[in-house]
Amino acid sequence: MSRPLPDDEILRGVLEGFDNVEWHQSRGQDVLEVRPDDLLAVAGAARSAGFEMCVDVTATDHLGRREPRFDVVANLLSIEHRRRLRIIVPVEFVEDQPPSVSSLTPIWPGANYFEREVYDMFGIVFEGHPDLTRILMPDDWVGHPLRKDFAVGAVPVYFKEGDGA
């Protein structure tokens, strides 16, 4: 069974030994689609291959569009090789259970605040994170604002020359 493989050494090195990791390009950028179980191993391989910095960890909510519902996205940067790589981990949402994925902080400590933000905004739990608490919203906030089922929270605006409202 053949799957597309990148041409260059570095990415082939990262993908070696992982059967379930898919590589594709999105507008010319390298993207790896990784299952939650493989995440730490692939991340470690990426780090050894030269991606020294994890510049961003975020998530997307695909409610209603596709399953699994969440995508956890990690953007990596290699300063030495001047390259970027993106790792996308589709995470399922099961009723009454917070979706969870392993934390990248053992490999890139800088992912700390980003993962806290994803937890705050999406409710995705990162196992192994040293301090997974809310970072942007108040500590007693209920709900995860960036989920698609959380409304924007707009208040109706009344104007003077309206229909008498």
């Binding site: 950028q29 994890c54 975020t58 695909h62």
Partner: protein, 452 residues
């Protein structure tokens, strides 16, 4: 001598640390008393900490050491660069632990972005890092253009470089001004803002606003440069070098400045890379990583400039890196102004950029394009992309996901100040409280960027 002191201590029921523990102390320190003391401290703290919200000041695991005093700096504080709250644990004057607590400026911009059409996304994004608004707009516009798959005319790219490099100068001037003011060089505040007025006047002439311009939009820029712009840029380029030399006279060899900034807030290169630190802080540790050189965008690789790098990774090096970056940006602005290409200031793909207003009276197509763009907005093909630019604070990235509609499915901004704040606890372990102010000023966080 020590015995005399011990005798005196016993007489007054006071124990001097380092001498032999007296009897009454040995009996007094049992677990019950310890626990009570900590609860009492926590309650007293609750009364004293004036600007505490809720229970989030109670960090049980830190109230373990008897000698640690917890001080809360912010969120309303003159030198925390906005609404940053620092939870500082002090042993005397030495900072043992610092924890930044953020979220006091959270504006829900990423949620708002999902409700705005792509052309209006700039209005939202520009208010994130409000000292470098054009960089935010550029990042978002580049992400949208990459999803659309369009190229820009060279004049549009050159205008973008001109405006963003001037923005870098004005942002670094604010950094120098606040850096100086926090450490005590109050005149630096007045000087920095004086120079900034010249640049902001130019921005007002070109974009209509002093700040938060919404000028760089997907497809190009909102309007062409006005007549006479070369003279204004020339004026800025003439005035800045002399002023920069004035600042060097004030700060560069100043013994007080060097005493407050050298060997303060040191961050090593390994720590910076591990903690995702980018921008002048990373460059001050010695790593010459600048996105304008590593992953060039908007035609910036056509211009000749250097990347200043520090050696020690301390506050003084960051100050030098920022001053040198102003010099380099002046170089780039001069090159752009001399070689500004002629042509369109935005793409002529009418599905994306609205037609000029006069055309609407003449052509039916122009009217329809205008209508569609300003009501529904243009649709962006499905996909996801991550684009980053070098903002004055570091790597400013935009992760944009489109589902084929006219509004983003997800717009995430990788904020440089958000990541750079992770360096604050590392830099400030076992330093003095006064160094906290200096180091925080050198990190130059912009809270709009941090909290979004």
């Amino acid at each position: 001598m020590t015995d005399d002191r011990t005798d005196q201590a016993e007489a007054r029921d006071v124990w001097i640390s380092g001498t032999e523990e007296p009897e009454w102390l040995v009996h007094a320190t049992d677990e019950g008393a310890q626990k009570m003391r900590h609860v009492e401290t926590a309650e007293r703290l609750a009364e004293q900490l004036g600007t505490v919200v809720g229970d989030d000041f109670l960090l049980e695991e830190t109230i373990g050491d008897d000698d640690l005093m917890i001080v809360n700096m912010g969120p309303q504080h003159p030198s925390t660069h906005g609404v940053l709250r620092l939870h500082v644990e002090l042993e005397g004057e030495i900072v043992r632990r610092v924890q930044p607590i953020i979220g006091y400026l959270h504006t829900g911009m990423e949620k708002t972005a999902e409700t705005l059409p792509f052309m209006l996304g700039g209005t939202n994004v520009t208010r994130m890092d409000y000292l470098a608004p054009l960089h935010n707009e550029l990042c978002f516009a580049l992400a949208v253009e990459q999803l659309l798959g369009i190229d820009l005319p060279p004049r549009a790219e050159a205008i973008r470089v001109l405006m963003t490099e001037l923005n870098r100068i004005s942002s670094h001037l604010v950094a120098l001004a606040t850096n100086g003011m926090d450490i005590g060089a109050l005149s630096m505040m007045l000087y920095g803002f004086r120079e900034r007025e010249g640049i902001l006047a130019f921005f007002e002439k070109v974009t209509g606003l002093r700040m938060n311009h919404n000028y760089i939009r997907p497809g190009g820029v909102a309007a062409d440069l006005p007549d006479g712009w070369e003279d204004d840029v020339e004026g800025i380029l003439d005035v800045m070098p002399g002023r920069l030399r004035e600042y060097d006279d004030l700060l560069k060899e100043n013994a007080i400045w060097k005493g407050r900034t050298k060997h303060v807030g040191i961050l090593t290169a390994e720590e910076a890379v591990a903690w995702s630190i980018t921008g002048p802080i990373l460059r001050s540790t010695g790593i010459a990583h600048d996105l304008r050189k590593a992953h060039p965008y908007s035609g910036i690789d056509r211009y000749d400039f250097d990347v200043p790098v520090g050696t020690n990774g301390d506050v003084y090096d960051r100050y030098r890196v920022r001053v040198d970056e102003i010099w380099e940006s002046l170089k780039i602005v001069r090159q752009v102004a001399e070689a500004m290409p002629r042509g369109d200031y935005k793409t002529d793909d009418r599905k994306i950029s609205p037609p000029p207003r006069q055309r609407i009276d003449e052509s039916m197509e122009a009217l329809i394009h205008h209508f569609k763009i300003h009501t529904e907005g243009f649709r962006v093909p499905e996909g996801e992309v991550y684009v980053a630019v070098e903002s004055p604070r570091g790597e400013l990235g935009c992760y944009l996901v489109s589902d084929g509609g006219s509004q983003p499915l997800r717009m995430h901004t990788r904020a440089p100040s958000f990541a750079n704040l992770q360096s604050v606890p590392i830099m400030l372990a076992d330093s003095l409280l006064a160094d906290t102010i200096a180091a925080l000023a050198s990190v130059d966080p912009v809270m709009g960027d941090v909290d979004r």
